[in-house]
Symmetry: C2
Subunit: 326 residues, 2 copies
């Protein structure tokens, strides 16, 4: 049986996990949604295109997982509760196996974070996914990039550099393959820090998610706040898999500038550290301090340290296929 776009929507996308606040879901010209009273809406959109935002080796289930996860990471950076999403999917051809896997990965994330697919469209074109996510946050309580103050600690969730190392393993066959599975998981299935963000919301003075790389994204945050920071490279949180996969200096470079981490980088008045939820504290590492002077200054155990790359920029970056840059 031929699969046309309406049949694809019916078989794979209409019956995903339900979400609250949906008056009218897929099937009309627009979805109708009811944000809870007293809440602001947080909205973000990101395209993922094969070969630009993810390697062609990514499996369809991983593409499905990743396209929603990286968008939820943007909502997490604001401290917003994810609620709904829309999916614009371009496919070169309609294959049931591919759609089975893609939808399974997509709805795995949707189920875990309680977000409902409420609309979208389908086109026959080179593989590409554009996801728009909608979340809610109590009025005036969203985290922004603008609140960092001198003396605040600079902290990150989780570990950094794993996904960048995995991308290198995917694209440079000569690399040794130790720890490949654990690293690949971080590239293919980034876990958005939604739960951590909701715990951070009324504590952090500013927040951003790390997609282009710590150095590049932290710089955006510092510029928005009109401050600078001093960072200790030796405090960058490295996973056992990354440590096992490459020399320490390479691991630090990947953690500082590699990208695709989808961890949160936030600033925090030091007195608030002990008020953080203990589980959240265990997931976070202090890596430096906000200073009044603009710019980012690095040290590694007292020695100079300079991150190699500062984030991929579309249109001006050259060379290898870019890491994800949503």
């Amino acid at each position: 049986m031929a699969l046309d776009e309406f049949e694809i929507v019916r078989r794979w996308f209409r019956d995903g996990p339900a979400a609250a606040g949906v008056t009218l879901g897929i099937g009309d010209d627009a979805a109708l949604l009811r944000p809870p009273p007293g809440q602001e809406l947080a909205v973000s959109t990101d395209a993922l295109l094969e070969g630009r935002h993810f390697p062609a080796t990514l499996r369809p289930g991983e593409i499905g997982y990743r396209c929603l996860a990286v968008n939820l990471s943007d909502l997490a950076a604001m401290g917003a509760q994810p609620r709904w999403f829309l999916l614009s999917l371009s496919l070169p051809r309609a294959e049931a196996d591919w759609l089975d896997s893609f939808a399974a990965g997509l709805f795995e994330v949707a189920r875990e974070f309680g977000v409902g697919l409420v609309g979208g469209d389908l086109s026959r074109a080179p593989l590409g996914v554009c996801v728009t996510v909608l979340g809610t946050v109590p009025r005036g309580r969203a985290m922004r990039r603008t609140g960092a103050r001198p003396g605040d600690w600079v902290c990150v969730t989780g570990t950094l550099g794993d996904a960048a190392r995995a991308l290198r393993l995917e694209t440079c066959p000569g690399e040794t393959e130790r720890g490949r599975a654990a690293l690949h998981e971080r590239l293919a299935r980034p876990r958005p820090r939604v739960h951590e963000a909701l715990l951070l919301r009324d504590k952090a003075s500013s927040c951003i998610d790390i997609s282009d790389g710590l150095a590049a994204d932290l710089r955006h945050l510092l510029e928005a706040s009109g401050v600078g920071a001093f960072l200790n490279a030796e405090q960058l949180p490295l996973s056992p898999a990354l440590r096992a996969s490459c020399p320490r200096t390479e691991a630090l470079q990947l953690a500082a500038g590699g990208g695709d981490d989808y961890e949160l980088c936030f600033t925090l008045p030091p007195a608030r550290w002990t008020t953080l939820d203990p589980e959240l504290r265990r997931a976070c590492t202090r890596i430096g301090e906000v200073e009044a002077a603009p710019g980012l200054r690095w040290r590694d155990s007292g020695r100079t340290f300079q991150p190699r790359a500062e984030g991929f920029r579309h249109f001006t970056s050259r060379g290898a296929p870019p890491p994800g840059d949503s």
Copy 2:
């Protein structure tokens, strides 16, 4: 000076027309929006890809205009007031002239309908645009596809078939060129029927916008409502430009099945016709009547009439470059 993605956002996209209800616009991980109290949110997304949803002959200003206009048409079909939009733009290269024109077309529509650009992303990739629009509608008052009842009139706004004829003129050089400019305008710069929709909102029993072609889209509406309809082809509203451009039978075929009209097709209990705003009545034509029996039955001045095509479907339709199918 090289144009990187941040510079492009700064120069072309950050300072579009303002909109109400924006707590935080472009520049953070997500936008923060405040829907008015007592309103539902109407949300829709559509991708426009070169060669699939518009011909490569479309100028950048027309692409900018069209990508937002067709999305606003989806909000119009719901009777929603457009408020905000997000733009995911893929470009093969960054050229200032192209961006000047694209942004001018985009913001011309944005200004006219009072919608604000609040977020998005940029990628270097083949030309493609994915727009997500957000609107608001008083709770429970949105128009849907499901309310058509036997005895209701079937009506459309404006004239039909012009854009489909223009697409044919663009892609078949042998065609005569009479009326080309007027027809091209309908393809390049479709006017979303937002104002008409707000006047229709508490009158129409159901509504859909015509993107795939009257026959295909009306069929969706009738199926959703569990009814059928009888249509008079001789009552299809044809523009002078379309009548001058091709024989009557061809004009009727384009009006019935051509697509890309972005007019509204709605059903209306006959007693409500005289309660419509007079200006709205002048913009609308009655073309048939809803019947209990499923399916679409056509006559042309008492003779049989069968629309040639019934809407382009991605993945199964063959042949010529598809008309727009958002």
